[in-house]
Amino acid sequence: MRPTAQALFAAVFAFVLLVIVPWAIRVTHHDDFYYTLSSVALLAIASGGVWLTFYIGRINIGQGAYALIGGYASAIFVVKAGLSFWIAMPLAGVVCALVSVAIGLPILRLRGVYFAMVTLVLTEVARLSALALPITNGAMGITEIPPPGPLGLFGFNLLPSFASFANRNQAFYFLCVVMMMLCFAALYRLVNSRVGRLFAALRQNEDLASSMGLNVPALRVLAYAISSFLGGVGGAIFAAIAQSVYPSSFTVADSINFMLNCFLGGLGYVFGPMLGTLVLYFGWDLLFQAGQYQLLIYSGVMIILMLVLPNGLLSLRFSRKKGA
């Protein structure tokens, strides 16, 4: 895509999310959609991180662990250290990135299914630690987290306190959507940069990349740290919306869902996780009417999708282009 087309696409996307969607919600009086869409945006951020680890050729089923760590970190920063949410959120991401460097250095030596299984175990470790550690308050979790305060920069007041908004969910919607666009713009930029090419080289053949003089261990830890940062930020905002975080806030099922979002959207496309999250989340919500058959239909559709489009939803567009 040419730069002008890119900018145009981004502008249209932002316009739809920031103007058209809120307008549609106001006209149709579906205020609960704000909450749903905020959740989709946050889950998409975390899934974007998972996608990046897929991009270097690792199956990551451990994003739930980092979302949980991020949620707890920001909650502890806000409640116990009294920091502002706007500082706590990026700090939570940094905490996750640091943790992931410590964990990633040894476990990123594993490949294929071994790495996948270790990350799966990691999610359980995070949940069990949250239950056992004293600072996380065990099964009670951390509750009554105050809503984000005012955001100021160099004396200018950019945003008033979230507590002063009449419609807090709307405010959170804008926060989440803006964060999602920032994260995915950064991911897109990253993948199309020199480092992105190096990541792609890792996916294709690590030994070959190493023989070309790449510092393979450093690069894969970098990718994993960015991935975990995104997971942590997602988890931190989630804790702020819910105003609470529990050991069961993010579990193995969430970790698997993050991975599924990437698969469904298509592993070859940066914006795949966004689409995958939207489809999976709304698919699940729409099936709510199906009552007890919800999970059956949902998983049935997932299996059928997998049979028909094993390379993700976005592959539809690309395969057609190839044929034309």
Partner: protein, 288 residues
């Protein structure tokens, strides 16, 4: 102390049987079967229905559960996994399929059997009591049966023609195909066999722990842990991993219980450390 060791051995025997099925499917097809725990649950519920509610003999119920799971496994391989492996650009896609199947089976189990915990009458009554050892006889029987099945499985893999073919496939699928092994047929057989083992152990354990529709996921995670300890795709590793996890769990529960519920946290953390030193587990081949 003797009690702890006996408990560990008993747990280990059943765990090893669970891990065997998972590792078999992984070795033959490179598929991480997320639905393994759900297959275990189906086996448990079938035995509950046939033996517990219809009061047919336990052996018949166990046989029926194993046969049903073998058919389910065969169908899954033939119509789902084989198709996706052929069409997909990336091997990992089978993981999404496996997760989808796990959800599907979870939902089906919930609809068919409900969410209640179910138990069945004991197969053998009585308890063995000595100075410092208490073992119910039904646990002895289940452990013996589990070990019997493990031995039968290992003998089958070592000395029969299908066993040899499957071992060859696990080593190198393409080479096996070039030597005239019908790999598609044996993939089907292997998947059916793996599912059957899951159903078998589910059917055995329903007599002791009972069964409910929510235990599938945790069972799968335990099975993954065992396979990682022993090394993925290696029969000996699965058995070893099963016994080690059983022992760790038994010892951990008795040693660590004064510190609260941290046995599994300790096991998982030591697993992470162990794997960063020995990435392929105890007996695994490099990079699965």
């Amino acid at each position: 102390m003797e009690q702890v060791i006996v408990n560990g051995l008993y747990l280990g025997a059943q765990y090893a049987l669970i891990a065997l099925g998972l590792t078999l499917i992984f070795a033959l097809m490179n598929v991480l079967n997320f639905a393994h725990g759900q297959m275990y649950v189906i086996g448990g519920f079938l035995v509950y229905e046939i033996y517990g509610r219809m009061h047919w003999p336990f052996v018949v119920a166990l046989f029926a559960a194993a046969a049903t799971l073998a058919v389910i496994g065969g169908l899954l391989e033939r119509f789902l996994f084989r198709t996706v492996i052929r069409r997909s650009l990336r091997e990992e896609s089978t993981m999404l399929l496996a997760a989808g199947v796990a959800y599907f089976l979870d939902a089906a189990i919930l609809l068919l059997f409900g969410e209640k915990q179910h138990g069945v009458p004991k197969i053998v009554r009585g308890v063995f009591v000595s100075d410092n050892l208490i073992i119910p006889y039904d646990r002895v029987l289940v452990a013996c049966l589990a070990i019997l099945f493990i031995v039968a499985f290992v003998l089958m893999m070592q000395f029969t023609k299908p066993g040899r073919a499957m071992r060859a496939m696990a080593q190198d699928r393409v080479a096996a195909q070039l030597m005239g092994v019908p790999v598609e047929f044996y993939s089907l057989v292997g998947f059916a066999l793996g599912a059957m083992l899951a159903g078998l152990v589910g059917g055995l354990l329903v007599t002791i722990t009972g069964v409910n529709s929510g235990i599938g996921g945790p069972i799968s995670i335990k099975a993954f842990t065992m396979v990682m300890i022993g090394g993925a795709g290696v029969v000996g590793g699965a058995i070893l991993g099963g016994f080690i996890l059983g022992m760790l769990e038994s010892v951990g529960l008795s040693v660590l219980h004064s510190y609260g519920d941290i046995t599994y946290l300790a096991i998982f953390v030591s697993l992470l450390i162990f794997l960063s030193i020995r990435p392929n587990g105890l007996m695994g081949k490099p990079w699965g």
